[in-house]
């Protein structure tokens, strides 16, 4: 619940405030967003399976985002598209997490009946 409220506030902030982040950082931003989404899905799964730990979630959130953006930057400088690795790994993990979340939710719904 808190998460959703936070998300809405964040989106509103993003729309209302004009923060100038240079355009050349935009690709790194998108990779970082993917990493953040992965962390959020991981947190969702953990909270459904009741072993959610906020410190792990927050460290993962920022750590993953920074690492992904940093790797993408490094890849750009080296001429190797490392961001693809980030996209594939985080994308795959998002789907994995979603599959587990789905299973947990269905099982929960079944056990209620």
């Amino acid at each position: 619940m808190v998460g959703i409220i936070g998300l809405i506030i964040g989106i509103l902030l993003g729309i209302i405030f004009k923060v100038n982040i240079p355009d050349q950082f935009s690709p790194y931003m998108s990779v970082a967003i993917l990493a953040c989404l992965d962390s959020v899905f991981g947190a969702l799964r953990a909270s459904l399976s009741k072993n959610f730990q906020p410190d792990i979630f927050i460290s993962g959130f920022f750590g993953n985002a920074l690492l992904a953006a940093g790797l993408a930057y490094l890849g750009d400088k080296l001429g190797v598209p490392i961001y693809l690795a980030a996209v594939i790994v985080f994308g795959g993990r998002i789907f994995d997490n979603f599959a587990i979340v789905r299973r947990l939710l269905i099982e929960k719904a079944k056990s209620r009946h």
Binding site: G6, G10, L37
Partner: protein
């Protein structure tokens, strides 16, 4: 207490995520707008080109029309007097000689089909160049060709043929691509020209770069020289 703390931290993290999402979304929207602008520009340009092409054909038709009018004026002006009739005849023949009229007659046609290299354009620069065309034109002239055209561009005595990047320029602005088939037509003594072309080793320089075919024919049409003759520097000696 711990629970509230963790809830707040999760909330803050979600705020950051939401902010990043919204920001990125905005940036991408902006980019899309500029991209659309660019594509609109390119369609505008193609449209403009189409319009110019249309205009060109219209103007050409107009020129044709005016030319026929001029012809009829000349004929009426020549009237019945023998002297003016002779003048008109002289004018027509000089037009024919300078390539200002469409001509037809027997002659030969040469087809130069470039070899398609398996790996695209060869890096060694083995392709038809301006020099090959100049050589062929010279060869045809020597065999008595009276009118020559390359890809329907009339070759007259003021014509220059020169390579320019991916094209060969003829008459200053007409482009011939060396990666496509080049057709050279010549009107003249077809037997003589054919024998000149079938002389051994005439096409030796073409062997590795293109497929050469040539044939005699009885009715070849060659269009007129489309530019205007004008001397800016040369004056008649008095």
């Amino acid at each position: 207490m711990r629970r509230i703390k963790s809830q707040i931290s999760v909330g803050i993290v979600c705020v950051i995520l939401g902010f990043m999402l919204a920001y990125q979304f905005k940036v991408l929207m902006k980019q899309e707008k500029t991209l659309n602008l660019r594509s609109a520009n390119s369609t505008d340009i193609t449209l403009e080109i189409e319009q110019y092409k249309k205009q060109k054909t219209e103007l050409e038709a107009k020129v044709e029309d005016l030319n026929t009018k001029v012809k009829s004026y000349e004929q009426t002006a020549a009237g019945t007097s023998d002297a003016s009739k002779a003048l008109l005849k002289e004018l027509d023949s000089s037009r024919l000689l300078t390539g200002l009229t469409d001509v037809q007659g027997p002659g030969v046609t040469i087809y130069l089909t470039p070899d398609t290299n398996l790996f695209g354009n060869s890096a060694t620069g083995d392709h038809i160049t301006d020099k090959h065309l100049v050589y062929l034109v010279n060869e045809l002239r020597f065999a008595g060709a009276e009118a020559i055209s390359i890809n329907d561009i009339r070759i007259v005595d003021r014509t220059g043929i020169r390579g320019a990047g991916n094209y060969i320029l003829i008459n200053d602005d007409s482009k011939v691509s060396y990666s496509q088939r080049i057709v050279i037509k010549a009107i003249g003594d077809k037997a003589l020209m054919y024998s000149a072309l079938s002389f051994p080793e005439v096409f030796s320089e073409f062997k590795t770069i293109c497929d050469v075919k040539y044939e005699k024919s009885d009715d070849i049409k060659i269009g007129k020289y489309t530019k205007t003759y004008k001397f800016d520097y040369a004056k008649t000696v008095k």
